[in-house]
C-alpha cells in the first residue's frame, strides 16, 4: 500500500513537475539547506542538491531516510567549512518525520527532475566482470580512496570525502549513476570528485557494479 501511494504520487508529480516545487518541502523549510529549484543557481547551500531528486533516488529509500536518517557523507557535505577539518562527526542529526509526512515528502521529491536520462540495465554483473570492475574501482580509478564500499568479505572499506556507496544499490537510480559518471556537471556546478572519461562499456559495468552494493550485504 505504501509503495502504491508513492508510485501514484511520483507518477502524478512527474507529469506535472513544474508544479512540484512548492508544497510540503517548502513548508518544512527544506530549501534553507537544499537546492530545490533548477533556477536557484546563485545561492550556495549547506546540503546536497535535491532539485533532481526524482532522477537520483529510489522512492523507497527516500521515505526511509526521512523517517530514519542515516549518515551518507561521513566527511560531511563538500561545501561546509568543517569539511576538510574532519570535525563533521559533530554534524547535527538530519530532521526526521513520521511515516505519513515522510512518504508525502518523498513523493514530492520524486517529482523534482531536470533531465531525461538514457536507460541503463541493472542486471547484475557476472562474477568475472564484477572482479574486474572491483579491481578498477580500487586501482585504475582510485574510487575507493574517497568512497566507502564493501570488500569481498562484506566489510566496509574506503575513504570518507565522498558519499558512502555501501548502499548505492538501494539508494540511487542506475540511470542517474551512469549520468553522474559521464557528465557530473549536469548535476553539480563544481564537485570535488575527479572527472573520468570511461568508455561506454566500462561506464555501464561500473554502474551495474555500484548497483550491486547494498547494505544487506554488510557482514
Amino acid at each position: 500500500m505504501k509503495t502504491l501511494t508513492i508510485i501514484i504520487f511520483s507518477g502524478f508529480f512527474s507529469l506535472s513537475s513544474t508544479l512540484a516545487s512548492a508544497g510540503l518541502l517548502e513548508d518544512k523549510n527544506c530549501g534553507s539547506c537544499h537546492r530545490l529549484n533548477a533556477e536557484e543557481t546563485e545561492k550556495s547551500f549547506t546540503g546536497p542538491n535535491l532539485h533532481y531528486a526524482g532522477n537520483k533516488f529510489q522512492p523507497k529509500w527516500l521515505s526511509e531516510f526521512l523517517k530514519n536518517p542515516e549518515i551518507i557523507r561521513p566527511g560531511g557535505f563538500i561545501n561546509n567549512p568543517g569539511f576538510l577539518k574532519g570535525d563533521s562527526e559533530s554534524q547535527p542529526p538530519h530532521p526526521s518525520f513520521p511515516e505519513e509526512e515522510a512518504n508525502a515528502m518523498a513523493a514530492e521529491l520524486m517529482g523534482l527532475k531536470i533531465t531525461k536520462q538514457t536507460s541503463v540495465t541493472t542486471e547484475p554483473l557476472s562474477k568475472g566482470q564484477r572482479a574486474k570492475i572491483k579491481y578498477q574501482f580500487e586501482r585504475t580509478f582510485s574510487c575507493i580512496s574517497c568512497h566507502q564500499s564493501l570488500n569481498l568479505a562484506g566489510k566496509v572499506r574506503g575513504g570518507i570525502s565522498g558519499p558512502s556507496l555501501v548502499n548505492a544499490g538501494n539508494r540511487l537510480q542506475a540511470d542517474w549513476v551512469a549520468d553522474w559518471l559521464s557528465t557530473p556537471e549536469t548535476y553539480t556546478r563544481k564537485g570535488r570528485m575527479p572527472h573520468y572519461k570511461m568508455d561506454p562499456v566500462t561506464l555501464i559495468q561500473f554502474t551495474r557494479f555500484l548497483m550491486m552494493l547494498k547494505k544487506e550485504n554488510i557482514k
Binding site: S142, G159, I160
Partner: protein
Amino acid sequence: MILTLWVTGCGQNEQTAPAIKPPTQQEVGKTISQTPQPVLAQVTEKTRQTYQWYCAQCHGMKGKGDGINAKFLTVPPRNHTKAEYLETRTDEQLFEAIKFGGLSVGRAPCMPAWGHTLDEDTIHSLVQYIRELCQCQAL
C-alpha cells in the same frame, strides 16, 4: 585537442621552454656555465584554491598528508612538505603523477588521475606549489 596541446606547448609549458631559452640568456650576458632555466608555471591564488578544493581531501589543508581520507588509505598520501623524498622526484614525475595518477609513475593507485579534471597549466602550477610546500627542488 591537438590544438590545445600545441598552444600550451608554446606557452609556459616547462618541458618545451628550454629549447628556445638558452640563446636569450646568453645575450643578456648571464654566466655561460649557467644551465638554462625552464620557465616555471606561476603559483597563484587559484593554484592554492585548487589544491584546497581537490588535493586537501587526502593531502591535508597544509599538504602534510593528513587529509580526511588519509587514515582509510592503504598507502598514505604523500607529505608535500617533506623535502627528502620530493627532492628525488623531477617536476616531470610530479606532473605525471598528478595528470595520470599514482600508478603511472610506479606509485600507489590511491592517488587518482586528474588529467580530465585539470588542464596542463593548472597541473604545472600545482607542481610548483608543491615545490613551495617542500621548499625544495629536484636534485
